[in-house]
């Protein structure tokens, strides 16, 4: 349930203390993520502030039965990166008809947040060689062939390591 309560306090009470705590954890990560994707420090700073302000303004839209706070912030940061650094639109899938207008069921929230913890633990336990490739795929905005060029590993090795990593993560989630 990490951070879910913080977002609720921002949404319901405009609680700047809760925001400051979220900010201290996530803003430096978002900035680092954007810099790894090729933004310079000042653009990354500006985008990171913008991402965190979006979190406040869109706090009504956060659905803890469908995403963890880290996931939600990741998607906001990713979309901002595509928008600002790449200057492209990012089409999103059609909303589901049973949208998140109603208060989510507490049991669903708990299940989703627990699953995220399991996923996090499984990611942390991956062998370094597999984990690094997953990180590169998300952070560096790199495809497998570019990772191959950067690491000197054969493309087949990279593909099979990523496949193994995904298999392990899926196994942990069963």
């Amino acid at each position: 349930m990490l951070w879910v309560e913080h977002v609720a306090r921002i949404r319901d009470d405009q609680d700047t203390q809760a925001f400051a705590e979220l900010f201290a954890h996530f803003a430096p990560r978002v900035k680092g993520f954007l810099m790894k994707s090729g933004a310079d420090a000042s653009l990354a700073e500006e985008c990171a502030q913008d991402v965190m302000a979006t979190l406040w303004h869109k706090s009504h839209q956060f659905d803890p039965a469908r995403a963890s706070v880290a996931t939600w912030i990741f998607t906001i940061a990713r979309n901002r990166r595509i928008d600002l650094i790449r200057r492209q639109r990012r089409p999103e899938p059609e909303d589901l008809t049973w949208g998140p207008e109603e208060e989510p069921d507490q049991e669903d929230v708990l299940t989703l947040q627990q699953e995220t913890e399991i996923l996090g633990a499984a990611l942390a336990e991956l062998p370094d060689a597999q984990r690094e490739l997953i990180e590169k795929a998300y952070f560096g905005d790199l495809t497998h062939s570019e990772i191959a060029a950067e690491t000197g590993l054969p493309l087949g090795t990279i593909k099979s390591r990523i496949r193994l990593a995904l298999d392990r993560l899926r196994h942990a989630m069963k």
Binding site: G32, Q49, H57, H60, F74, R89, E94, T116, Y138
Partner: protein, 220 residues
């Protein structure tokens, strides 16, 4: 929403969609397929969750130092912006085109501006970034698809009707993923005209910066 979709997106494409490393035309394909396919949507959400965990677990040396007044500046931004209202789902269960495509077309089927390209086949090119291309194709019932020499990755999703190639049958929501080695002649099903979304790596453009992203995708 989910119909009987048999041909799905693969892990590499779903992961690249979550990571944000696909060209716009391919993002449009993925978003359109996810609108019709609950199982791929669930997979895509798992890849988002993985991105969230990667972000959360960044090592200390990867985390960037903020400007000294960063929090204050952000709070000032917050005061300046409007609070968003709770999200209202925009859905139209009667539409043939999923929402991401309606946004590009400016409406459903009747809003598509078709251009004939011969043999009764029509196409409408959608405005995406030039690193890849997206177009809607209209193929009369029983007609072979125009020969589209594959130079890289091409994905075709059926929106209406169906088509068949040597091995498989593709109906609404099914995606065929073809690479440059593939030679085949899909034919629209005889019972109904077929409408598809096709995306492909565009041939190299003059803008050197942009095609690099297309080339990235090519070799995923």
């Amino acid at each position: 929403m989910t119909e009987t979709i048999k041909h799905h997106l693969n892990d590499a494409i779903l992961m690249a969609y979550a990571a944000g490393s696909l060209p716009e035309a391919f993002n449009l394909m993925v978003a359109s397929h996810l609108s019709l396919c609950d199982s791929c949507r669930a997979q895509a959400e798992s890849f988002d969750a993985l991105g969230g965990e990667v972000l959360d677990q960044m090592r200390d040396d990867e985390v960037a130092d903020l400007q000294p007044e960063s929090l204050e500046a952000t709070l000032a931004l917050i005061l300046g912006g409007p609070m968003d209202k709770p999200h209202v789902a925009e859905t139209d269960v009667c539409a043939v085109l999923p929402k991401p495509l309606r946004d590009y077309v400016g409406g459903d089927l009747e809003a598509i501006r078709w251009k004939p390209i011969g043999m009764g086949v029509k196409q409408a090119i959608l405005p995406t970034s030039k690193d890849a291309s997206a177009r809607l194709l209209f193929i009369p019932a029983g007609t072979a698809m125009p020969d589209h020499g594959h130079h890289g990755t091409e994905m075709t999703m059926v929106l209406k009707g169906a088509f068949q190639d040597e091995d498989d049958y593709f109906a609404r929501g099914d995606v065929e993923i073809a690479d440059s080695d593939m030679h085949h002649t899909p034919v629209a099903d005889i019972h109904e005209d077929c409408i598809c979304l096709a995306v492909a790596d565009a041939p190299l453009q003059f803008d050197r910066l942009i095609p690099k992203i297309a080339q990235r995708f090519l070799r995923i």
